[in-house]
Symmetry: C2
Subunit: 500 residues, 2 copies
C-alpha cells in the first residue's frame, strides 16, 4: 500500500522558552490542521534522550495526553541523532501494512537549558563506550574523520579549511532566508576563520548548534500530493575505529541502496537533498555516499557551486542542521518537512527550488552508525519508467572488522588521524589530543594524550609509541629522545611484573 | 500478510552479573538458533531507560554490533514498562507490511546494580510530573488503586489482604517451577504477612521485584506453529487523577477491543493469559479489564481457583512479573515467550497447561497508560468460525477528564483514597502519606502529608482540608480542632495578600 503525506508542521528552531511538550504540541497542531484531522490511528514519537535532557520517562504517553489525544496508541522510537527519521520509517510500516490509515509522526528535543559541558556529555553517550571513555566527543570524531578525508584525497589544511568554510557559508546563506532556522544570518569566510576551534580542525561554524525544536508529519494511506517513494535504513559498527573506511559511511550507502531500489530511482534522478551536516565534513561525505558525486569529489562539486540553492543539485536548501539548528530527535523529521515544503512549492520566493519533484533526505544516527535515507516525490510527477529499470548506484561497501589483537601495553603504531579537542565534556581536561593509531597487526586503537596542546606538533602517518596508562592507550611522538628512552629502558619494565 | 513466530529465547531473570548487552545477546542467540537464522532483515530493541540505568545512548546500534549483526537496521522502541510488547507490535507491522521477512525483537533491562532508592527514582519518572513531584512512586499509586478497589467493591481490609496474598502465593507457586523465574520459591500466607509494607496496603510480596533480564522473539512471514492472531495498543491519561475510574484501566480495555476484533476471538475463547502483575491488585483488575470476569469479580474467580495452573483460565503460568521478575523493558516480551512456550507444549511436565491453543498477554506501560494486548494462537488449531462472528466483549470505557477548576490554596474535599508510602524515592522523607482528594467541583487533586505515619489515622471517604504549601497540596483530617482553627482564623489569612 502506498504511503502519502497529508500534513507537516514545525516550530522555529533555536533557543526556546517553551517546554519540549509545548513545542511538540505546536508542531503537531500545524500538521494535524493541514491534514484536516482531529484524531489519528497512532502516534510515533521521536525524542533521543528525554530522560537526561528533560528528566522524563513514558514520554509517548505524556505527549498523546498533551495533544488531547489520550487513548490513541503512542510509541516512542529512538535511533540516536537520526531519531526523527527512525520514527518516520517506523510509522511508514504501520501505514503501509494497511492496519492504520492516518498516523502522526512527532519528533523534538529540548537541549539549550543545560550547561554546554553537560549537553556535550549527554550527546557523547551515543559514542561507543570503548571510545567514549577517552573523553571523545562527537565533534572530536568528526574532526578526526575530516583530517583523514583531507589526507586521503590530498587536500592541504588550507584547502580543507576552505571547503569546510564553503559548506558553512552555503548553509548559513540558505538558512538566512528560512523562517524556521536558528541562525538567520549569512556568514563570510572571515567570520568562519574567526570562529573558535571546537576540535581541530573543526570550528564552531563546522558544528551544528545546540537547539530546541520540534517537527511533525502526518502519514496517510489516502493519496495526496506527496508520496513516500523509498526508504532505507542501516547500521554500522558502534565503534568508529572498527570501520574499514573512515572517510565514508557504509550505513548511508546501505540505506541509500535500499531507498533507491524501493523507489526505482537512481542518484541522478534526485533533484535536491537534505544531507545530515551535523559537521560540515559530513555534508561532503554524505553527497559522495549517496552517489551524487564520486568518492573524494564531493568537495569539487561544492566548489563548482553544484550544491548551491541555484546549483544543479541543491543540498540543504533549509540551511541544514548547521544553520536551521539540530534539536537531535527532531532533525531527521525536519529534513523531511523541508523536502515536502519544496515539493509543494511552498518554500517562498527566495528559497523555492526550480526543480523540486523528487527530494532525498539522509539522516545520520550516532557517529554514522544508524543512518536513514528517505525519498519523497510529487504524486503528480510523470514517471518515465524505462524498460528494465536498473540501479546504477554501486557503492563500495567496505567490510568492517573488530580489532582482534589488541597491542601490548607498550607498543608502536602509525598515527592515522588525530584531533586536539578543546570543548571537552564534563569531567575531562581541555585541551585533549585524541587519535587513531594503526598497529602492526592492522588493527586500529583509540589513544589520547592530554599533554599535546597544539595540532602543529603532530603529523598524520607518523610513527608513535603507545603506552597503557590507567586503562587508556596514550600515544607519544617517537622523538629521538623517546626512541632512546625506549631503546635503553630496562626490559623488565615493559614486561608484566610478577607479584613480589 | 500473516505473522508467525519462529524463535524465542530468554535469560534466567534475577540479579545478574552479566552486562545488559550480554544478557540481550544471549537471549537473541537462543531465538535466532531456534529460528535457524544467522541474519534478519531488522532488529527492534526494547529497553525502557538504558540512559539512566546503564548510562548509554544509541543502544540499538550498539546491540546490533554486539550481536555481530552490524549493518542490519536496528531501532529502539519504548513505551515505559510495556516496552517489550511495544517493540513486538512495532516489529509486527514491519513484517505484516511485506517489507520484511524475518525480524528480531529483543528486549531487556539491567536494574539491580543501582541503589534501590535511585532505581525507585528512575522508575518514578514514568509518573506524570504533576503527581511525581509529590514523591509519588509506582507502588504508592498502585496502593491507592488497591484501596479504592476494596472500597468500591465492599471488601474489608482483611479481605483485600487475603486476595492480594492469594495472587502472590499463586504466582510464586507458578514461578517456583519456572526455571527462568527470579524467585523459585513457594510462599505461604504467613510469609506474605511477614513481608514489609512498601506502600500501605501493599507489601513487598505485592510488588514485582527489581530484576535484570532479557527476552527475544523472531517474527517471520513464513508459516510456523505459532501465529500472531491479534494485537491492540492504547494509551490513557498521563496523570492517574484525571481518570474517571481508578479501579479499571481504559487502556487495557481499548487495547483488548482491538486485539479481540483483529483475532475474531472473544474473551471466552482465551485459554490462558499472562497479565501484567507488577502489583498484585493489577492482576485482579487486568482479568476484569480483559473481559475474563465481570468488574469487581476478578477476586472471586481468584478465590475459586479459576486462575490457578489447573484452573479453568490459568493466569500467569510463568509466575508473572511478581515471581519471574520484572526487568522493565523485557517483561512485555517475556510474557509472549511464555505464551509461545505453552502453545508449543514446551513448558515442562509440572507447568505445562492442558489447554494451550490460544493465549493472551497484557502488558501495562506506566501507571496503566500505555497498554498492549497480544493474542497468540497455535497455527494448527481448527478454527470453528461461526457465521457472522460478533465481539461479545463490551467493556465500559469511562471518559477521563482533566481537572478544570483547581481548588483554591485553602479548601476542603473528600479523601477518595490514600496510601502511606514507606519505600520513598531518593530525596523524599519516609513515611509519606499520599492521597487523592475530590473537591467540590468534582475534580481530583493529589495531596500529601508527611506527618501521618500510620494508615490507621486516615479514613477513605472522609472530609479533609487542603492547603497549598510550597506548591504542593497538603491534606489534613478535619478534626474538631482543625475545624475550630478554620472557623476562627482571621479571614485575611485565607485571602491572597495584596502587596504592602
Amino acid at each position: 500500500m502506498d504511503v502519502y503525506i497529508s500534513g507537516t508542521g514545525m516550530t522555529k528552531f533555536g533557543k526556546s522558552k517553551d517546554s519540549l511538550e509545548k513545542m511538540m504540541a505546536n508542531a503537531a497542531a500545524l500538521a494535524l490542521e493541514e491534514a484536516q484531522l482531529e484524531r489519528v490511528d497512532a502516534i510515533y514519537i521521536g525524542v533521543m534522550n528525554v530522560e537526561e535532557f528533560v528528566g522524563d520517562s513514558n514520554f509517548a504517553t505524556f505527549l498523546a495526553d498533551t495533544l488531547g489525544l489520550s487513548g490513541i496508541p503512542s510509541t516512542r522510537v529512538e535511533t540516536a541523532s537520526s531519531t526523527g527519521a527512525g520514527a518516520f520509517q517506523t510509522a511508514f510500516y504501520a501505514v503501509t501494512s494497511g492496519h492504520m490509515k492516518n498516523v502522526l509522526v512527532l519528533a523534538g528535543e529540548k537541549m539549550t537549558h543545560l550547561p554546554t559541558a553537560k549537553t556535550t556529555r549527554i550527546l557523547s553517550e551515543v559514542i561507543d563506550r570503548s571510545e567514549r571513555r577517552y573523553g571523545t566527543t562527537m565533534p572530536a570524531l568528526a574532526a578526526m574523520i575530516a583530517q583523514k578525508y583531507a589526507q586521503e584525497f590530498n587536500l592541504s589544511l588550507t584547502m580543507l579549511e576552505n571547503i569546510l568554510a564553503q559548506v558553512a557559508i552555503k548553509n548559513h546563506s540558505n538558512g538566512s532566508i528560512n523562517p524556521y532556522a536558528q541562525f538567520r544570518k549569512v556568514i563570510t569566510k572571515g567570520d568562519y576563520l574567526k570562529s573558535q576551534i571546537v576540535s581541530f580542525p573543526l570550528r564552531r561554524y563546522d558544528c551544528a548548534p545546540i537547539t530546541d525544536g520540534a517537527a511533525a508529519i502526518v502519514l496517510t494511506s489516502e493519496p495526496t500530493d506527496v508520496k513516500v517513494s523509498g526508504i532505507g535504513h542501516a547500521t554500522d559498527t558502534s565503534a568508529v575505529r572498527h570501520r574499514a573506511s573512515l572517510t565514508s559511511f557504509n550505513s548511508t550507502k546501505e540505506a541509500a541502496l535500499k531507498a533507491y531500489a524501493m523507489a526505482q530511482l537512481n542518484p541522478s534522478d534526485i533533484q535536491f537533498g537534505e544531507v545530515h551536516d551535523a559537521f560540515t565534513p559530513f555534508e561532503i561525505i554524505g553527497t559522495e555516499d549517496l552517489g551524487f558525486f564520486p568518492p573524494g569529489e564531493g568537495w569539487k562539486a561544492l566548489e563548482e557551486g553544484a550544491t548551491q540553492l541555484k546549483g544543479r543539485l541543491p543540498i540543504n536548501p533549509s540551511g541544514g542542521l548547521k544553520s536551521r539548528g539540530h534539536p537531535i530527535g527532531a532533525s531527521g523529521l525536519a529534513q523531511l518537512v523541508e523536502i515536502v515544503c519544496q515539493l509543494k512549492g511552498e518554500a517562498g520566493e527566495e528559497r523555492q527550488l526550480e526543480r523540486a519533484e523528487i527530494g532525498l533526505a539522509q539522516s545520520i544516527g550516532g557517529l554514522g552508525n544508524n543512518n536513514f535515507v528517505t525519498i519523497l516525490e510529487r504524486s503528480d510527477r510523470r514517471r518515465i519508467m524505462k524498460e528494465g529499470w536498473r540501479l546504477d548506484y554501486q557503492p563500495e561497501l567496505k567490510v568492517s572488522k573488530k580489532a582482534t589483537n589488541l597491542p601490548p601495553p607498550e607498543s608502536v603504531g602509525i598515527l592515522e588521524t588525530f584531533t586536539i579537542l578543546y570543548a571537552t565534556q564534563e569531567g575531562f581536561r581541555s585541551p585533549l589530543a585524541l587519535g587513531f593509531v594503526k598497529t602492526k597487526t592492522g588493527d586500529r586503537v583509540m589513544a589520547c594524550n592530554p599533554d599535546y596542546h597544539s595540532p602543529k606538533v603532530l603529523t598524520m602517518g607518523k610513527k608513535v609509541s603507545l603506552k597503557m596508562k590507567e586503562g587508556l592507550y596514550v600515544f607519544e611522538k617517537l622523538t629521538l629522545w623517546n626512541r632512546l628512552k625506549r631503546r635503553f629502558k630496562s626490559p623488565q619494565k615493559s614486561q608484566p611484573q610478577s607479584k613480589p
